[in-house]
Structure formats: structure tokens, C-alpha cells
């Protein structure tokens, strides 16, 4: 594996892997505590509309998909401000419309589109320097928002009514959380693909939630686990010539399974002792 580090594409893969691990650690935690996992699935699949647009009009894929997802997310946010019970229906709607729109646009675009497969299953080994710049900028913005508004985000996520009473602009922060989630999902699609993006955002967060006693700890643990899974997944992918996205996710799933088994055994042993 060490000799592989001489290749630029492996270097890019590792750098982008670390960036997306930190982003998914932060955003995955926010998605889980705000019970928005289904929403992340909706954004991921509706992002296909953006992919279709970029293919049809020959536009930069990451930027076009990000902008398309921002529009979809704003649509979801505005429609669910007053009534979050409607969230599921709205997500189902955007999920189906976004995908259908994307598929039809790809259908009417002449030629074969190899990029499309990479967006379904991820292509961390094809990450360019421009992509890394884009990902770094997004990471910087997310960290800036988090450092400046951590308490507001915590309050809105934990108890929206109370946050509202304390004068926090809950609608703005709800929208900010949704927008950060949508951009992060689009970037994560580049790494593990549209089909596996929810797993990347939720598996490390689930494991982190077993150890963390605060939201900040959950984000830090989740980012650390995510980084380890990405590096180990990449190692397997390179060594055994496997697809990188599914390798990363399978390593994550295996660790989650081991953690669950150990936790059960620990609890049983503890109960027997007592």
C-alpha cells in the first residue's frame, strides 16, 4: 500500500477521504439527532436530477448537483417549517421527482455516460484537485458555522420550541442544518455513490452514539471512525482490486456489527455478575 502513496490519484483519494470523513462525522451526527436520515435519502436521490442536468447541459457535475440540491432542500425547508409531520410526504415527492427528472434528462442526452455509474457507486479514485478544493471550501464553511453557532444548533436540534422561546431564529437554523446536509450528501456521493451515501452518514454516527455523551463528542468520534473506515476500505479496495465505495461501507458495517455483538456480550456478562 505504501508504494501506492506515490500515485497522485491515491493521494487525492486519501485527502478527499479525510475531508469527507470530517464532514460526514459532523453532518451525520446532526442528521441522526434531528431524525433526518430519511431526509438524507431523499436529498441523495433527488440529487440525481442535478446529475441529469449536468450531463444534458455539459456542466461541472459537483457544482451543478450541489446547486440543484440546494434548491430542492430550500423547497423542503419552506414546505415543512410549520408542520414537520409533512416532512415524510414532501421527501417522498422530491425523491421520486428528482430521480425521474434526472433519468429522463440522461435518456435524451446522446452518447454513453460513464460518469453516471461513478455517481451511483462512488469514485474516490477519480477525485480531482478541483474536487478537493471544493470539498475543502465546504468543510471550512461547515466548521465556521459550527464554531460560531454551536449552541444555537444544539438548542434547535434538542428542543425547537424552547430554542424559539429563547429568541433563537429556529427557522434559519433549521434551514442551515438542511443546507449543510444537502451539500455534504452531494460531496459524499462522489466518494461512495448515491446508493451508499446514507450508510456513510449514519454508520459511524451510530457507533459514535454508543460512546458519546454530548453532540460535540458524537461529531468527533464519528469523524474519527469514518476516517479509519475510509482508509481501511481504500486499502482493501487497492489490494484486492475492489470498488472503493462498497469496500468502505462494508468495513463500516462490519465494525458496527462487531460493536453491537460486543455490547450485547458486555451487558449479559454485567447482568450475570450482578
Amino acid at each position: 500500500m505504501l508504494e501506492a502513496l506515490e500515485y497522485t490519484f491515491i493521494q487525492n483519494a486519501l485527502i478527499s477521504g479525510f475531508i469527507i470523513s470530517i464532514i460526514s462525522g459532523i453532518i451525520g451526527s446532526l442528521i441522526v439527532v434531528n431524525r433526518m436520515v430519511f431526509l438524507s435519502g431523499g436529498i441523495a436521490h433527488s440529487a440525481y436530477g442535478g446529475i441529469g442536468l449536468s450531463i444534458y447541459f455539459s456542466l461541472p457535475m459537483l457544482l451543478t448537483t450541489s446547486l440543484f440540491s440546494i434548491v430542492v432542500t430550500l423547497f423542503i425547508a419552506i414546505l415543512t417549517y410549520k408542520n414537520r409531520e409533512k416532512l415524510d410526504s414532501i421527501i417522498g415527492l422530491t425523491w421520486a421527482i428528482g430521480m425521474s427528472f434526472g433519468i429522463l434528462l440522461v435518456d435524451i442526452t446522446p452518447g454513453y455516460h460513464a460518469d453516471l455509474i461513478s455517481y451511483l457507486f462512488g469514485s474516490i479514485l477519480a477525485v480531482s484537485s478541483d474536487d478537493i478544493m471544493f470539498m475543502s471550501s465546504i468543510l471550512f464553511v461547515i466548521l465556521f458555522i459550527l464554531v460560531c453557532f454551536y449552541r444555537d444548533i444544539l438548542a434547535v436540534s434538542y428542543d425547537t420550541t424552547y430554542a424559539n422561546l429563547r429568541g433563537i431564529r429556529t427557522r434559519i437554523f433549521y434551514t442551515v442544518i438542511l443546507l449543510m446536509a444537502s451539500i455534504s450528501i452531494v460531496i459524499a456521493i462522489k466518494i461512495v455513490g448515491l446508493i451508499l451515501v446514507i450508510a456513510l452518514l449514519s454508520i459511524p454516527t451510530y457507533i459514535a452514539s454508543r460512546f458519546a455523551s454530548s453532540l460535540l463528542e458524537m461529531m468527533l468520534y464519528s469523524a474519527t471512525f469514518s476516517s479509519v473506515f475510509t482508509v481501511v476500505g481504500l486499502f482493501f479496495s487497492y489490494t484486492y482490486d475492489l470498488s472503493s465505495g462498497p469496500s468502505i461501507i462494508l468495513i463500516s458495517s462490519l465494525c458496527m456489527f462487531v460493536q453491537i455483538v460486543f455490547e450485547k456480550i458486555y451487558k449479559k456478562t454485567k447482568n450475570k455478575i450482578h
Partner: protein, 249 residues
């Protein structure tokens, strides 16, 4: 004798969802240090009245004044304690963090909490006998303990009025008694307003009651203070409502 100011003054309040009036011609004065309970059937408008006092819903007609000033100017004096069943028990958050959440304002946003904030939060927890749980996760506490933490959060914000929405729902009798005893102790300097379905318990501690079923009737419980003090959980609801009827003003 000391004359107490109006903590809350509601005049000619009307409120409707869609075309149907949920609250009609509501007039209510709550004095400082009152312990008021809001009673009534489900859908009668109790929670709506609380939401209007908190400023979450906008009233269609009438006015609400807090300490003789418009509601929006004095909203910082009001704290709200939700039902503990509304709390997300899987959320990774420590007790101390929940209490310090009350401090959220424009200037306090960064990760770290100051020493003064922690001391103040510990003091609030002490008032509800929960200081030794400060570093525990909220999800590890029982329902009664979580409710006490939410009361401590209300105290941390230096509120003068605390509104509680069914604070003893889904709690055992012992925890219910503990919660009401804490509220009674706090009532020495804070106005308490409680929505409750637990008639036998709340009538023992409150000094005033309002019964809301779209319209409002006011009851001065001090008229039958001794009878209410001896209530127990075996007293049937019909009997309690009859006793309440005798205190109607």
C-alpha cells in the same frame, strides 16, 4: 399587607384555528406568586392558551400583558417546561448542557461554557435536588429526574413566571409529589402556571384554578384550602369537580 402586581393580564382574548374559535372572550389576571392550575378537557384550549402566553401563537383579538407591559417586550421573564415525554432520550446531551441551554442568546454561541455559567447551572440543579446528576446523560435519567432538570433549566434563565405543560404526565405517584413540592417551594418567589389532569394532586398545591373549555371559569381555591389539603389519590374526579365548582368566582 403587600399588594402584588399582575404577572399576567389577559383581556378579551379570542383565538381561532381556521374558522373555529378555540378560545372565546378570555379574561384572566394572574398575580405575582400565584400558583395557578389550568384544567379542562382535551381540546378545550389549555395548551393553546399557554402557546399564546408564550408568544408562539398570535392572538386574533384582545391583549396579553406581562408585568403591565406588552408580551413581546417581557417574554424573557417567562420560562416554559414541556412534558418530559417530549424529550428525545437518545440525544447525546449532558444534564448540565440542558440547563445551560437557557443561556442561549446572541452573544453566547461558542462551544465552551464559562465557569460562571456552570456555577449558575449547578445552583439551578441544586434547587431541584439534582446537582449530583450534572454530568449524567439526559437519556440515563428517569422520567421524574428529567422533569426536574427541565424545571432547573427554567430557573437558570431567571424567569419570574414558569409555565408547565402536564409536568407529571407518565410519572409515578412519588415523583409527582416530589415535582409539586419543588414547585410549591419555588412559588415563594416565582409565579407558577401548570396545566394538569391530575386533579387530586394539583388542587392540593395551587391557590387558583381556571377551567377552560373554549370559555373560561375562574376558581379561588383558597376558599376551600383545608378540604383540598386533605385530598388523596382515591378521591374521584366527579367529587373533585364538584368541590372545584364551589370555589367558582
Amino acid at each position: 399587607m403587600q399588594t402584588l402586581n399582575n404577572a399576567i393580564d389577559i383581556k378579551d382574548l379570542y383565538f381561532k384555528y381556521d374558522e373555529e374559535f378555540v378560545l372565546k372572550n378570555i379574561n384572566l389576571k394572574v398575580k405575582e406568586k400565584d400558583f395557578l392550575t389550568i384544567l379542562g378537557p382535551n381540546g378545550g384550549g389549555k395548551s393553546t392558551l399557554i402557546k399564546l402566553i408564550l408568544g408562539i401563537e398570535k392572538l386574533h383579538k384582545g391583549s396579553i400583558n406581562i408585568f403591565n407591559k406588552a408580551l413581546l417586550k417581557e417574554r424573557q421573564h417567562i420560562a416554559y417546561v414541556p412534558q418530559n415525554t417530549n424529550v428525545n432520550t437518545h440525544f447525546p446531551i449532558k444534564v448540565l448542557e440542558v440547563v445551560m441551554m437557557a443561556q442561549n442568546c446572541m452573544k453566547k454561541r461558542f462551544f465552551f461554557y464559562s465557569k460562571d455559567e456552570k456555577i449558575e447551572a449547578l445552583n439551578a440543579l441544586k434547587k431541584v435536588n439534582m446537582q449530583e446528576y450534572a454530568n449524567k446523560k439526559m437519556g440515563e435519567l428517569s422520567g421524574g429526574q428529567r422533569q426536574k432538570v427541565l424545571i432547573a433549566r427554567a430557573l437558570f434563565g431567571n424567569a419570574k413566571i414558569i409555565l408547565l405543560d402536564e409536568p407529571t404526565s407518565s410519572l409515578d405517584i412519588l415523583s409527582c409529589e416530589q415535582i409539586y413540592k419543588i414547585l410549591k417551594k419555588l412559588n415563594a418567589c416565582i409565579t407558577i402556571i401548570v396545566i394538569s389532569h391530575d386533579l387530586s394532586l394539583v388542587l392540593k398545591y395551587a391557590n387558583k384554578a381556571v377551567y377552560i373549555n373554549k370559555e373560561l371559569s375562574f376558581h379561588d381555591l383558597s376558599k376551600m384550602k383545608d378540604e383540598f389539603a386533605n385530598l388523596n389519590s382515591n378521591t374521584c374526579e366527579i367529587e373533585l369537580l364538584q368541590m372545584l365548582g364551589r370555589c367558582k368566582c
